[in-house]
Amino acid sequence: MTLARSQALFWQAVRAKRAPAALRELFVGRGALSVDKRMQIYRAAYWSRHEKALFESYPRLYEHMGVAAFRELVAGYIERHPSTEPSIERAGAALATYIGACAALGEQRFALRELAQLEWARVLALLADDPEQAFEASALGAGDAPTRALRMLPSLSIVGSRAIWRGARGVTELALFGDEARALERALQSDPLSAVCAEFHEPDAAERARRALAAWIARGWITALEEPCAR
């Protein structure tokens, strides 16, 4: 048997509910433990390890759904979306997408999907890299600043109208309203500062943009002004 055949069969056996018959061609049982029981050790470890990772990533979702329903959801998800990342902490990356497509959840899937998106943003905020440098607010006064993009905190994202980021006291959420949420979306898309500010509308558009940028700097959301050639 080639390495390719044996690895494919092992993968199949770990994920299957029942061991494939070909397993006994591949492995030797010894002593009191049969081949099937030995493979069951790997199978149990695979499912429980993924389940544990998803419970840790989505605490609000499983509290909302209840443990039994969440466990069933997770089993279906792992079946459909096996992990593609070296870190198991990222195994839940597609859960919101899976929920959105899960007709069995009925109408509640839309609210569950939104909760999953929010929780996944929190996971990503926790895992994100640190900013390279502290931002000097005076840089926004540079003559070409309106044409340049803001470099935002690596952990910052926006889900709906909620900003999520990792600050000094851990992962934080903040509800934003109207034009500030839209402006932050533009900033996270690396649009020029002028386009970010253009999301603030009259009356007092300039003043509201100035106040929002000052708040973003105070929260550590802005880490640099990109070089003009960076876009």
Binding site: S6, Q7, A8, V14, L26, R38, S87, A91, D129, S155
Partner: protein, 266 residues
């Protein structure tokens, strides 16, 4: 050097007091490409202790292409941390681009040796250093194996010119599960390749043993550790503990016991 693996529930204490040992091991996947508290802990412990980066997802025996992004991030972390050792496991853990997040056993064959040796060489070139490869605990044996596990490990280390991280607990667990003599296993390893040791606890169910890292190092592992030190001399040692995590104080006591055993048997 004796120490323990860094685990998240200890981070607050580590940030405040440091590791209080001379050697710590960081699971690579918990630190690559990530900042925040985890990275702050790594920076803090580096002030007082040597660091080893210990991976679980290199999947060196897999037929999947090596993960370039992962290797790039590992290289960057290695540059930042300047670890004493970089290690991973002699196993496969991914198939068809999907990760199992486990350490699955390879068949002990010439085909597997050729495959793994080529991949270790690639990784060592990419990282610009020798890596360490660890023996895993296993629960199942491939029918087509033509070599013993220690022969397989030794041949790969020689041909790939890499080092060995010898997990003493894994030798005991696999010996129970497959019925081999752990002392013969140790006697068959190339002394010049052994660079680091692991100690841990396991659960013995009678019919088999599970490597769960959830209890103190048991007597039989300490006994084999003594034999390992007698054969290879004192070596940097990490105590691993993952389930039912004890206090740092208890981990430090296990490290002190490892140091005493090293001195006794060297």
């Amino acid at each position: 050097m004796h120490g323990y693996g860094l685990r998240a529930p200890h981070y607050a204490e580590l940030l405040e007091h440091g590791p209080r040992v001379s050697f710590v091991e960081a699971v690579t996947e918990n630190f690559v490409g990530r900042g925040g508290r985890a990275r702050a802990v790594l920076e803090r412990v580096r002030r007082d202790a040597e660091v080893a980066l210990h991976g679980v997802s290199l999947s060196i025996g897999s037929l999947d292409a090596l993960n370039d992004g992962y290797l790039d991030r590992l290289r960057a972390l290695q540059h930042a941390v300047q670890p004493r050792f970089v290690s991973d496991h002699l196993c496969f853990g991914s198939v068809g681009g999907h990760y199992g997040h486990d350490l699955w056993p390879l068949p002990y064959t010439e085909e597997a040796i050729a495959h793994v040796v080529a991949r270790i060489s690639t990784v060592q070139d990419r990282l610009g250093r020798q890596i360490l490869i660890e023996n895993v605990s296993s629960y199942i044996e491939h029918r087509e194996s033509t070599l013993s596990e220690h022969e397989f490990l030794s041949i790969i280390a020689e041909r790939a010119d890499c080092l060995i991280l010898l997990d003493v607990n894994n030798v005991i667990v696999s010996a129970k599960n497959h019925g081999f003599d752990p002392h013969a296993y140790i006697a068959g390893l190339p002394a010049q390749r052994i660079a680091q040791l692991h100690l841990a606890g396991h659960t013995d169910y009678g019919s088999h043993a599970i490597d769960d890292h959830g209890s103190p190092v048991p007597a039989e592992v300490w006994a084999l550790y003594g034999a390992v030190i007698e054969r290879f001399g004192p070596l940097p040692t990490i105590v691993e503990w993952d389930q039912d995590l004890p206090s740092l104080f208890e981990l430090q006591e296990q490290c002190a016991r490892a140091r005493a055993a090293s001195e006794l048997h060297a």
